[in-house]
């Protein structure tokens, strides 16, 4: 393929991180900078009776204090939602305002009521304590199913039963009901896909900097998509002139979805900076992060899966209550619908599917996309159901899957697979991933060992064969589904006169290594050394436009945009080369960084051509000087990575503690540019998916207090909680983008959770405890209780 593509090139960006020279938002200090501390509600639901800011205002070093009233007075409604889903009956979803600071009624723990700006962090923090807020505490509701019942406390008065919208997809319910009725066996499961907290290690931060001279605004923010933030901030929140606003996302310490969204604090610091005429910095504490970063998952679901006597799936029926939290975060409506319902075909030929979703407001932190976003929920459902069905029908879970897999199709010769739930898969070959995973695990040996075990332990094996839709997304398609933005990507390839190449991409990198992977693509496509390529991202001033990084879209969409620009560069370059070589452009070949006249040894190097483009003394007539092209790439379809994950667990019977002994993942993410980086993405994804299965979960009490809002109580996986992973891949190229890539950022998370849970259930059944479900996270107590309650 060239010198770089397909090779584990060491990362270009590492040096700055390894020497402490990375620059995250909180590392930036601007001249005359002030510091903000936000006063937040200690209650989930309360009327604000009064706010007394006088003591805080008088404190030495305090610059200003603002409350919700200041924003209400200036007519600022709040942050918008970027996706609209309509009710089944066609009514528009309920879209209550999400104010920057609350003036009247707080709706979740951590809702912001005042901002204190001071000369130092310390002073701001001290003065925030002096803001005296009186609350009249009201009843609250945290569970989505309970919230949707009549009589539940209302989050928004004008939103009956707290229902934001209801939504349905797939075959008519009557058809699905009939197919279920007619089934030989029906597996039914009611379960919770619990709320998890993303916990990127860098807490969010934002600096607003308004310069009156020039009327310019700059926002530094720990965001996955600076341009999107600029668009929302300017057009929907503060009504600012977009061309006067610059948004910079410098190094960002992980996102996992939680840094996609436009947060109130971003608008707050910009607005406050204009009021006081100085930069305002806000950096979240971890405590604040726990209650203000958008959370993930939180579905309460009931599903029925029908089978014929042979084990073929006959129908799937799904009912889900999706918790949205107190406000609509930027992409919240899309997650339980178009990123969840559309994936319920899975890898299987299920003939009829119906999914019914009720999206509900509760007095909790907003819920939005978290690594995988909707697809983990869909995969969890399908993979739990099929493993459980295998246990119930006494069939082998791997066999049952093989029986139901969609036959292979490459998307070129054979058409893409049309699902019952709106999507058309691009290309897929599902048997090999599971076969490979089974080989790696030594399946037969495992079963023999399992039945022979007699040491106070139970062991179990769990499978998950998943598909996901990423490379987000064809704009026309998502537009029809309610997206209020296009989901293309832009790229500019600027060849400098000396032949060095600067690439400006709208894809933001916050750990994914774009600066390396993208450079590999550019260097190979252009036949130049990697060192001659610089990837620039994260600054709306230098990058023309961008939709950012999420939904495993960077390479599939952003990378494709780069390829388009490279093609344009090479096309124009060929014209210049042809002129210099006195040949016809059609007679030139481009390889190894030079144009050669076919069948001759006459050639000219890329650097000579680029120099000529900028010093056009001897130049083709009618051709513009310069070598600099921009492109926008809008994908034709989503991409559909898939894979097979297998977990092996051991349960200590005396304590219920689960030890994950092995984790095997065979993923197919299409073509791979940098195997090292792709493997790293899979590893990280696995850890998060495993984390959800075994360790993580937000716990709200009935009053809406998050009672595990710190690392002393919220359990994130640590190094000694996890084994080394055994991973491999197959390659089924994506047929519709120029790189043939599918996306690897979320696959690990999407596939892994059910594999672990299935393994625990398998272990329990092997010990005679025929339970259908153990709630996640599968803590020792829960697993132990399962062994007590069902002493079969």
């Amino acid at each position: 393929m060239g010198n770089y593509i397909g090779k584990s090139v060491k990362r270009v960006e590492d040096k700055r991180f390894l020497t402490g020279k990375g620059q995250y938002t909180d590392d930036i200090v601007l001249h005359q900078q002030t510091y903000a501390s936000i006063v937040r509600s200690p209650y989930a639901h309360a009327n604000i009776e009064s706010i007394d800011t006088s003591a805080a205002e008088k404190a030495v070093g305090v610059v200003a204090v603002f409350t919700g009233k200041d924003f209400a007075d200036s007519g600022i409604a709040g942050v918008p939602c970027g996706w609209q889903v309509n009710f089944k009956n066609g009514d528009i979803m309920k879209e209550p305002p999400h104010p920057l600071l609350v003036a009247d009624k707080v709706k979740h723990l951590g809702d912001a009521v005042a901002i204190v700006i001071a000369e130092s962090k310390e002073i701001a923090r001290d003065a925030a304590e002096l803001v005296d807020v009186s609350y009249d505490v009201l009843d609250s509701v945290v569970d989505p199913k309970k919230a949707a019942q009549p009589g539940a406390p209302l989050v928004h008065e004008d939103c009956p039963n707290n229902i934001c919208f209801d939504w349905e997809l797939g075959n008519p319910k009557s058809d699905v009901n009939a197919a279920i009725e007619a089934s030989h066996h029906v597996t039914t499961l009611e379960f919770v896909n619990q709320r998890v907290i993303p916990n990127a290690m860098e807490p969010r931060a934002a600096i607003g900097d308004y310069q009156a001279a020039g009327d310019k605004y700059t926002l530094y923010t720990s965001s996955q998509n600076p341009h999107l933030i600029r668009l929302l901030l300017c057009a929907f929140v503060l009504n600012l002139p977009e061309h006067k606003v610059r948004v910079v996302s410098p190094d960002v310490g992980g996102g996992f979805g939680s840094k996609i969204f436009h947060y109130t604090e971003e608008a707050l610091v910009i607005w406050c900076s204009k009021q006081i005429g100085r930069p305002v910095k806000w950096t979240s504490d971890r405590s604040e992060a726990f209650i203000t970063d958008a959370h993930g998952r939180d579905h309460v679901t009931k599903a029925d899966m029908g089978f014929d006597a042979d084990g073929k799936i006959t129908a799937l029926r799904v009912e889900t209550y999706a918790n949205l939290g107190a406000y609509l975060s930027t992409f919240a409506p899309a997650v339980p619908t178009y990123l969840h319902g559309t994936l319920l075909q899975g890898l299987y030929t299920t003939p009829v599917i119906n999914v019914d979703v009720t999206a509900v407001f509760t007095h909790t932190t907003a819920v939005d996309a978290y690594r995988g976003a909707g697809r983990p929920e869909a995969t969890y459902l399908l993979e739990r159901m099929i493993d459980l069905a295998a246990l119930e029908m006494e069939m082998d879970p791997a066999e049952l899957r093989f029986k139901n897999f969609i036959p292979a199709f490459d998307g070129v010769e054979q058409e893409g697979y049309m699902t019952q739930v709106a999507l058309q898969y691009d290309s897929g070959d599902y048997d090999p991933v599971l076969k490979k995973a089974l080989d790696m695990v030594g399946y037969d040996d495992f079963r023999a060992k399992q039945s022979a075990l007699d040491n106070g332990k139970l062991i179990g094996i769990g499978f998950s064969t998943y598909i996901e839709a990423c490379g987000i997304a064809p704009s026309a398609v998502v537009g029809a589904l309610g997206a209020r933005a296009g989901l293309f990507e832009s790229a500019q390839v600027r060849v400098q006169p000396t032949g060095k190449v600067s690439v400006y991409t709208g894809s933001h990198s916050h750990g994914q290594g774009h600066e390396t992977t993208f450079a590999q693509v550019v260097a190979d496509r252009m036949g130049i050394p990697l060192d001659d390529v610089e990837i620039v991202h994260g600054d709306s001033e230098s990058v023309a436009f961008g939709m950012g990084t999420y939904g495993s879209r960077s390479l599939a969409v952003g990378g494709s945009a780069i390829v388009k620009s490279i093609d344009k560069v090479l096309e124009k370059g060929a014209k210049i080369a042809a002129h210099l070589l006195e040949a016809n452009a059609d007679d030139l070949d481009y390889a190894g960084g030079k144009w050669t006249v076919k069948g001759t040894d006459k050639s000219i190097a890329f650097g000579d051509v680029s120099l000529t483009a900028y010093v056009p003394h001897n130049y083709p007539e009618g051709l513009e000087p310069g070598l600099d092209f921009s492109s926008f790439y809008d994908p034709a379809n989503f991409t559909y990575p898939f894979g097979a994950h297998i977990a092996i667990v051991e349960i200590d019977k005396s304590t219920g503690k689960v030890e994950l002994q092995r984790f095997i993942a065979v993923d197919d993410v299409g073509n791979v540019i940098n195997p090292m980086i792709v493997d790293g993405q899979i590893h990280g994804g696995l850890a998060q998916g495993i984390g959800q299965a075994l360790f993580e979960g937000a716990i709200y009490d009935d009053n809406g207090q998050l009672i595990n809002g710190s690392y002393m109580d919220y359990c994130m996986p640590r190094a000694d909680d996890l084994p080394s992973f055994e991973i491999d891949r197959t390659v089924t190229p994506c047929p519709h983008n120029p790189l043939g890539v599918k996306g690897a950022g979320e696959a690990g998370t999407i596939g892994s959770t059910p594999a672990v849970v299935n393994a625990v259930i398998d272990a329990l059944w092997s010990g005679g405890h025929k339970v259908k479900d153990v709630k996640m996270p599968m803590t020792p107590e829960r697993v132990w209780s399962a062994m007590q309650s069902d002493q079969a």
Partner: protein, 280 residues
């Protein structure tokens, strides 16, 4: 996160520290219990008296039939001390199970004892080891047996104006054994149950097994029920079973979102059994 304002004073010696003590002052040793609480502003003392640089509080010494661990010795120093390993091995292995490397590099035995977190490891270790805690006040030193040092939920027999200076740990004669096992709360890594067991060889094949449990109740306790069951008994599967069943006799068992009362009680029995099994 930033603590509220306070004054910082560094003590050069124990008497120096004693002279600085006042109503709203707190001693600062490793800071790994106090500073996290202060950063969250759960505690806002006026003055901190830093005792972490007092050399006399940091040593680990051999004094014949017992060893003396200075109150400001870190968990790390204790875990790696050959003297400690030789005198009573669980003291070293238990210290090595506290928190993580960084916590062990900073946190001190004295700080942990004074703090008396009901889920901390040291309380069980010192109780089972029958250690003596020497404290110093204006009126001079006094010795408090570990068994009566902990008086309640985060409460100790230490007076407000006293400093823990030394922990005296009796040496176990050859042939004795001691062990500490811990079932951790996976987020904080504190103990849901920690069980320390000492079997003193000087007292014959049977008898005199000391068992202490932490994490289970509002304070660490000596599991007398367990000990009674084993009194005069050869340690066997049967006697261990009977003994472990009494792990939580006469104590109120804590309950939280990670371990309910019922489960904690069960784990206490499992871990007492686990510890006793090492004596077989």
């Amino acid at each position: 996160m930033i603590p509220s304002k306070f004054q910082y004073k560094r003590a050069e010696s124990v008497s120096d520290a004693l002279s600085m003590m006042s109503d709203d002052a707190k001693l600062l040793a490793g800071g790994h219990s106090l500073l996290p609480a202060m950063k969250l502003r759960l505690n806002q003392p006026d003055t901190l008296i830093d005792i972490s640089r007092i050399e006399e509080l940091k040593s680990i010494k051999d004094e014949g039939d017992h060893i003396v661990i200075g109150a400001a010795a870190t968990h790390h120093d204790i875990a790696h001390s050959n003297l400690v390993k030789g005198a009573c091995s669980m003291i070293a292995s238990g210290a090595g199970q506290i928190g993580d490397i960084q916590v062990r590099n900073a946190g001190t035995i004295g700080g942990s004892l004074a703090h008396a977190d009901p889920a901390a490891d040291w309380p069980a270790l010192v109780i089972a080891a029958e250690a003596t805690i020497r404290v110093q006040g204006q009126g001079g030193p006094r010795d408090i047996p570990a068994a009566s040092f902990f008086t309640g939920f985060y409460e100790t027999a230490l007076a407000d104006d006293e400093i823990i200076t030394e922990i005296h740990i009796p040496k176990l004669p050859a042939g004795s054994s001691s062990t500490y096992v811990k079932f951790v709360q996976p987020a904080s890594r504190f103990a849901i149950v920690g069980c320390a067991v000492v079997k003193n060889a000087a007292e014959g094949e049977v008898g005199n097994i000391k068992v202490a449990v932490t994490g289970v109740s509002e304070m660490a306790y000596r599991a007398h029920g367990v000990e009674d069951e084993l009194m005069g008994q050869v340690v066997s599967d049967e006697s261990i079973d009977r003994a472990a069943a009494r792990a939580t006799d006469h104590v109120d068992v804590l309950s939280d979102h990670y371990a309910s009362e019922k489960y904690r009680k069960h784990i206490a029995q499992v871990y007492v059994r686990k510890a006793l099994e090492t004596l077989k």
